[in-house]
């Protein structure tokens, strides 16, 4: 039995949500890891508006813009995170990758009731992250964008990403566990 009174089997099957935490301006924003299809290396995370990776076209925008914030000047560690779900694909430029983290869903809290506007649909909630807070973006909202319907096929000048470079998004990043019970 674990110190919490759970058997090893029970503890081992406990669900955690794996998230990638990034910064966008002054915000820490978490993206669900299953949503992430690739992360472009710094040298490919420049000003491209459209990239093609494995025959999939991603329209790229600043995550800050998607969140209705003024885009900040390009950060030196800026990266493009390629996200997808079903047939919806988009790329988001973020200021910095903070790393992957496993969060117990019980520690993801909805926004306080004082927030009564559209933001309730933008975020699934927040959680304590390091000595601060991270906002968990609602993936359905993130990938739903009015311009998606108009997104054409890859334009001739779309940046093409070499398939050989594709790595698991978590491979190069340190994993940390937030408020989740782990067993050996």
């Amino acid at each position: 039995m674990s110190p919490q009174g759970k058997s090893r089997t029970e503890a081992a099957t406990e669900v955690v949500e794996r998230l990638l935490v990034v910064t966008s301006g002054p915000m820490n924003v978490a993206l669900a890891a299953p949503l992430i299809e690739d992360i472009l290396p710094p040298e490919e995370s420049g000003a491209a508006m459209v990239v093609t990776d494995h025959e999939v076209t991603y329209r790229v925008s600043d995550l800050a813009s998607r969140l209705g914030q003024a885009p900040a000047p390009k950060a030196p560690d800026s990266r493009v995170v390629l996200c997808g779900s079903g047939d919806r694909h988009r790329g988001f430029r973020v200021d910095r990758l903070l790393g992957h983290t496993d969060v117990d869903p019980r520690h993801i809290h909805p926004l306080p009731p004082h927030f009564t506007g559209e933001e309730r649909a933008w975020f699934k909630g927040f959680f304590l992250f390091r000595d601060t807070i991270a906002l968990l973006v609602n993936p359905d909202w993130l990938l739903n964008h009015e311009t998606d319907a108009e997104t054409p096929g890859a334009p001739a000048d779309a940046k093409r990403i070499a398939a050989s470079r594709l790595i698991h998004p978590g491979a190069a990043l340190e994993l940390e566990v937030v408020n989740a019970e782990r067993t050996a």
């Binding site: 820490n28 914030q69 306080p112 009731p113 004082h114 927030f115 559209e118 933001e119 000595d131 807070i133």
Partner: protein
């Protein structure tokens, strides 16, 4: 005995205990029972929001509070290098207000001395005079919330 008790009750009812605090150099007040505490301001994280004046979260240990931008609401700027956090007990829960670094003070005001603002403001319970200036007493319970209509 009964007469004495009644007199005490009446006396309590005619004075208000308020906390006077400052935002953008302006003195404001709130009833003490609507204030949940005063702390040093911690770094707040902006939250993209369409809710008027509610646009950040602030963390104190394990507690996370929403932030009401009182300075923006009043169209002033918080003053002082080390601003304070006043926790308001709004009817939908505790909410943090960033206030000036100047230390708030506890004041007792006579209810009879309260006046109403020239322009009605649903956020203001009344005004009192302190050092020759009118100080508005804000209703923190309803701060920034739509007025509840009663039938």
């Amino acid at each position: 005995m009964l007469r004495g008790q009644r007199k005490q009750t009446v006396e309590r009812a005619v004075t208000w205990s308020v906390i006077v605090f400052f935002v953008g150099g302006r003195a404001l007040a709130a009833r003490t029972e609507e204030v949940g505490g005063i702390r040093p301001w911690a770094d707040a994280m902006p939250v993209p929001s369409r809710t008027p004046s509610v646009n950040a979260l602030i963390r104190y240990g394990e507690e996370v509070l929403p932030v009401f931008d009182l300075a923006g609401f009043l169209k002033v700027r918080v003053q002082g290098g080390a601003p304070l956090c006043l926790i308001a007990k709004r009817r939908d829960g505790r909410i943090a207000l960033r206030i000036d670094a100047e230390m708030p003070r506890l004041v007792t005001v006579e209810a009879d001395a309260l006046t109403q603002p020239a322009e009605p403001d649903s956020n203001v319970l009344g005004l009192f005079l302190a050092e020759g200036k009118e100080v508005p007493i804000y209703s923190l319970v309803n701060l920034g919330l739509p007025t509840i209509q009663t039938a």
